[in-house]
């Protein structure tokens, strides 16, 4: 071990900078900000490329529809609901787990919201109650998986059926109309339009940005990645692995509660099936976004772009003049092409 007692790198180098300058030794290809940026975000950028290609194809197929604002406005209304669950799911998948119970959590939390609003309380109180419910359900699901030592794939699938069944048993399939919402402050703040743009998207973008920071610049994100990468090592280094795992499920619960509440506010109606349709598109978004299945790595921004891609497929295929029968086919095509792209784009280290 040669003890390199070279001058501190942060000292301003006296005189002319020699070619053998120690600072030079630490130059790495990724030190150049452009290359570094591309290398660090290759998964997200790959997803962006898929999205751009897809939109170009759509625009060539039907330029008139794809240059009208209405199409984008309708996507921007429903997309935020998906974003609120896609982003926490990136954390779960990075942590080496999966959560299939979020549709039922969406339904359950928004049911609580509907009950509170129906009883004449302020919708803000309803939102708080919904988020509390989501937190509690996330904790319940997470504890079941982590402390019960169950497979998250099967246990969360079971919880999804169980919670949805509970909703259906009590409501007997009946929906709840919430017409009073339209006059409330909560609606204006969370669900109206600003200069013709649905405000939900601003909240969703804020959520994505905050989560991306949480993922990349916060102890929580750092520990989620390490636990997903090598849980044994994380434990040996004193990280409370179980606690971190439960936390990611709680995060999904919170996201699902917000998503469910937003979807109720869009429709002024709560259905006992609320959230059901989101299971597969949301999961597809996470993986289309470039988060691999094996844990340890992932991308929040990529997941968000994946969600945008997936929600444009449905609208785009129909708008491009093809019948609704084509939607599933294109959904599948984009998923497979994205996975192939990511496979080529990322190396797996062991």
């Amino acid at each position: 071990m040669s003890k390199t007692m070279e001058p501190d790198l942060h000292e301003p180098s006296a005189g002319i900078s020699r070619p053998g300058n120690p600072r030079k030794e630490w130059k790495h290809p990724s030190d150049h900000w452009m290359r570094g940026f591309i290398l660090d975000n290759r998964a997200a950028l790959g997803t962006l490329a898929v999205f751009v290609v897809m939109m170009t194809v759509f625009m060539i197929a039907n330029p008139t529809v794809f240059t009208t604002w209405y199409l984008y406005s309708s996507v921007l209304t429903t997309l935020p609901v998906a974003l609120f669950v896609v982003v926490p799911l990136v954390f779960v998948v990075t942590c080496g787990e999966i959560d299939l119970s979020f549709p039922a959590t969406m339904g359950f939390a928004s049911w609580v919201f509907a009950l509170v609003v129906q009883s004449g309380y302020d919708p803000f109180l309803g939102i708080a109650a919904a988020i509390a419910t989501g937190t509690l359900l996330g904790f319940l699901v997470g504890s079941l998986v982590v402390y019960g030592g169950l497979s998250s794939l099967i246990a969360t699938l079971g919880m999804n059926f169980l919670l949805r069944g509970l909703i259906q048993i009590i409501n007997e399939g009946k929906s709840t109309a919430l017409t009073s919402l339209a006059d409330s402050w909560a609606y204006k703040i969370f669900s109206s339009q600003l200069y013709g743009i649905p405000v939900q998207i601003f909240w969703a973008i804020g959520f994505v940005v905050l989560s991306a920071l949480l993922y990349n610049r916060h102890r929580f994100g750092a520990q989620v990645k390490v636990v997903g990468d090598n849980p044994d090592s994380a434990q040996q280094m004193g990280i409370d692995v179980k606690r971190v795992r439960v936390k990611v499920f709680v995060f999904v619960g919170i996201g699902a509660a917000i998503a469910g509440t937003f979807s109720v506010m869009i429709n002024f109606t709560w259905w006992p099936t609320a959230g059901d349709g989101y299971l597969l598109p949301v999961l597809a978004s996470v993986f289309v976004g470039g988060t691999p299945t094996w844990g340890g790595v992932g991308t929040v921004v990529g997941g968000a772009i994946g969600a945008v891609t997936v929600s444009f497929i449905q609208t785009g295929v129909v708008a491009a003049g093809l019948s609704g029968f084509y939607v599933q086919f294109f959904n599948g095509l984009i998923i497979i092409l994205s996975l192939l792209g990511h496979k080529w784009n990322q190396a797996r280290y062991r």
Binding site: M1, S2, K3, T4, E6, L9, H10, P22, E25, W26, K27, H28, S30, D31, L213, R217, H218, R219, F220, A222, Q223, K225, V226, D229, N230, D232, S233, A234, Q235, Q236, M237, G238, I239, D240, G296, V297, A347, R348, Y349, R350
Partner: protein
Amino acid sequence: MAERLIELRDISKSYGQVYALGGVNLSVDRGEVVGLIGDNGAGKSTLIKILSGVVKPTSGEILIRGQPVTGWSAARSRDAGIETVFQDRALAVQQTIVRNIFMGRELTGFLGWLKVNKEIEEASRLMREIGFTSKVFTPQSIVGQLSGGERQGVAIARAIYKQADLIILDEPTTALSLTETAKVFHFVRQVRASGRSILFIGHNIHHVFDIADRFVVLDRGKVALTADRSQVKSAEDLINFMEDVAHPGGLPGLHDAGDPEQRAR
């Protein structure tokens, strides 16, 4: 006499019916390099897992600087100034060098947000300190891209960050080249010179003999021998003794260090 840093008293560990450790006493003083030797299955790994807080002993007492500890865990062990370089290195290979060095000990500021720049700065300082300079990687390189010796360097950098009082090296020279092994030895001497202690676990008795001030031989969950360096003439002495413990009555054993023959029987 030097300050007693850590002491294990009558530590036992059983997995169901199987005894991994049956009443082990072990102590490490400040500024001392203790070599822990033993055959496969002697209980070396269990013992260091107990020291690093990963495994809880079935019975027995752990004392840090004379104080008995309660609620022993991996986090507590690290807080008490014990750092372990595990045999498998305990690295998250898809993460950066920085993330591995600060695993479980992230440098955070307000509300748990990471001090990213400070972490990178500290990581490159640590890497230079252990002679870990290369054009090929930076603190933000992925550990999976590094060679075995370089990964060992990351694990060691992590262990020295907090100026730990005791560094446990579990089979640090296994699967390393000669130059890399020499680096590890140099590191051990550096740590001792700075007045800190090392518990060096090794298969290779010659390696342990070269580096340790005191030897502890573990055999089937019990301490078979504790000997100062002055009491052992050569590595062959140790090897003979271990053979003697494994096959009692076969070869002549050691006659010093508190009559080990008696215990071997």
